[in-house]
Each structure stands twice: as C-alpha cells, then as structure tokens.
C-alpha cells in the first residue's frame, strides 16, 4: 500500500495568519491547488479554501482587508507523509474534509486531497483485484485437475487416497 508522501501535492501556497483576505484571494485565483494553508512558524494552524472565501467572505460582503484568520477553517486535521493510504482514507471518512496539510517534524511539506487518496486507492484496488483473481482461478483449476485425477486415474497421483 502506497503512502501519503507518494500522492501529496507539494508547493502548497501558504500565508501567515496576519495576512488579509485579499492576499488569499489573489493566491487562490492563480494557484492550481484550491486552498491556502495558514501557517505560524511553518506549522499549519488553519486552511482557507475556495469555499471559505466565497461563502464566508464574498457573500457576506466582508472587506478584502480583513484578516484571513476570520474566515479560515481551524483547527485543521493533519496527516503524516509516512501514513498509509488506507489510514488516510479512514481519517477522510470520519472528518469529511477534502484537504489535509501533510506535516513532517512540525513543518508543512505538502497537501493530501480526498480526490488523490480515493483515486490512488481505487487504481491500486483494481490492479490488485486483477492479480488476485488470476491467482485464485489458477489455484482452483489446479484443484479441479487433482480432483479429477484422483477420482478417475488415481494411479497417476503421487500420493494415495
């Protein structure tokens, strides 16, 4: 099973908590990742997603000069880079968030998204399922062969029944 470090996005935009909503909006308008992680000494303390900006800032007519800490989601659920993907999926199923900052030694190293975790597990499952089914079918064919041999031509069996 692959680990979070293999599927996480790197180069996640970050802002200090003193930053303004306008700064977050500018980053999100350019960035490919749909969120900005709010950090304090490299340590993630919150997250501002496209959803937070639209539903909590723009719709209420907040000024773009207000602090991001007023609209950020905090606290955030963190993941570790050496976490297995099925552990990550368990967290995702219970927490219902879509984005999780990945932290190593207290510093932000990446971002794990629900989409990437689910897609990685789905691909992995498909691959393993095919192999597993081929092995199972070969095994059962072998059993059938021995079965027929034992029933009709027991003299060819290396062991007696």
């Amino acid at each position: 099973m692959a680990r979070v470090s293999k599927i996480m996005l790197t180069g996640v935009p970050t802002l200090k908590k003193e930053a303004k909503i306008g700064d977050a909006a500018k980053l999100l308008a350019q960035a490919q990742v749909g969120c900005v992680v709010i950090v304090e000494d490299k340590n993630p303390i919150g997250i501002v997603t496209e959803l937070d900006l639209v539903r909590n800032a723009f719709s209420k007519g907040r000024s773009l000069k207000e602090s991001v800490s007023r609209i950020m989601t905090s606290p955030v659920t963190l993941m570790a880079p050496d976490m297995k993907l099925d552990e990550a999926l368990k967290i995702i199923d219970t927490k219902k968030f879509r984005r999780y900052p990945v932290v190593e030694n207290g510093a932000l190293v990446g971002l794990a998204t629900k989409k990437d975790v689910v897609n990685a597990i789905s691909d992995n499952l498909r691959f393993h399922r095919n192999i597993q089914n081929i092995v199972l079918i070969l095994f059962v064919l072998f059993e059938l062969f021995i079965f027929v041999l034992g029933k009709y031509m027991p003299q060819y069996l290396p062991f007696g029944i």
Binding site: E50, V54, F58, I146
Partner: protein, 155 residues
C-alpha cells in the same frame, strides 16, 4: 455499469448571466453549493465555480457574464461514469451539466465523481471478499475430499 443518473446532483442551482458576482456568491452560500449553472432559455450556457467567483473578485469584474467558465460538456443521464471520467482526465473538463429532452436535470462535478469512486471502492472490496470466501470453501471441500473422513463418505 454506472449511469450518470445515479450519481448526479439533482438540485441544480441556476443563475442568469446578468446577475452580479456578489449575487452568485450569496446564492452559493445560501444553497451550500460550489457550482452554479448559467442558463439561457432553459439551456446551459456556462458553469460558474467558486474559482471563477474568486477570479472575478480579484480582477474586480462585476457580472457573472464576465467570469463564467465556458469549458463544460453537456451529458445525458444515460452516459456512463467511465466515459465522463475519461473526459475529466484527458480534456480537463470538470463540469458536466446533465440534460434530458432539452431540460437541465442535473449536474456532475469532480466532487460527485470522487464520492462515486469512494462508494465503488467500498462495493468492490465487498465483492472481492465474497469471491475470496467462495474460493476458500472450494479449497476446504478439496482438502476434505482427500482426507480419510471425506474418503469414507465419498467412497
């Protein structure tokens, strides 16, 4: 085969292209949705995402007309999940208004696709365990057949 009808969002929120960006943001907040479909005479002409709204606010554009995304693909409710998933990966199209008999009946976004994939994963795991159990029983029978007790029963 998974049909789009079973995974699409049915309550599509629509907006006119003459509305303001602010109205679009308020609509998203009050209906708790992340995409709005822009319709003109009941036909989808564009899709507005949260990112479009943010870009609009940053570049100080006023109307939905100036920010709406034209990159979308109309699909039928009978379309299959795998077909759409191919367009998502290869053409990078992320929004799929679902139209039936010329009427907008649903919307598929990337989030719906991820949710569906998550559910199939769970379903596939159950199927896999059932297959394993069946083969397990076959093997148990095989061993039993060749055991002294089995031999005395089956002759």
């Amino acid at each position: 085969m998974i049909r789009i009808r079973s995974i699409m969002t049915r309550d599509v929120i629509t907006i006119s292209k003459n509305s303001t960006v602010r109205e679009a943001a308020q609509l998203m907040a009050s209906k708790s949705v992340s995409s709005l479909v822009v319709v003109e005479r009941n036909k989808p002409v564009a899709v507005v995402s949260e990112r479009d709204i943010i870009k609009g606010v940053v570049s100080k554009r006023k109307n939905v007309r100036d920010v709406m995304g034209r990159e979308f693909m109309v699909v039928s409710p009978q379309a299959t999940f795998s077909g759409i998933s191919r367009s998502l990966k290869e053409k990078k199209i992320k929004r799929f208004p679902v139209v039936e008999n010329g009427r907008l009946v649903g919307l598929i976004t990337e989030t719906d696709m991820v949710e569906a994939t998550r559910d199939f994963t769970r379903f596939h795991q159950i199927v896999q365990e059932v297959i394993l159990a069946i083969f397990g029983f076959a093997t148990a029978f095989f061993l039993f057949y060749f055991s002294p007790v089995g031999a005395s029963i089956f002759g």
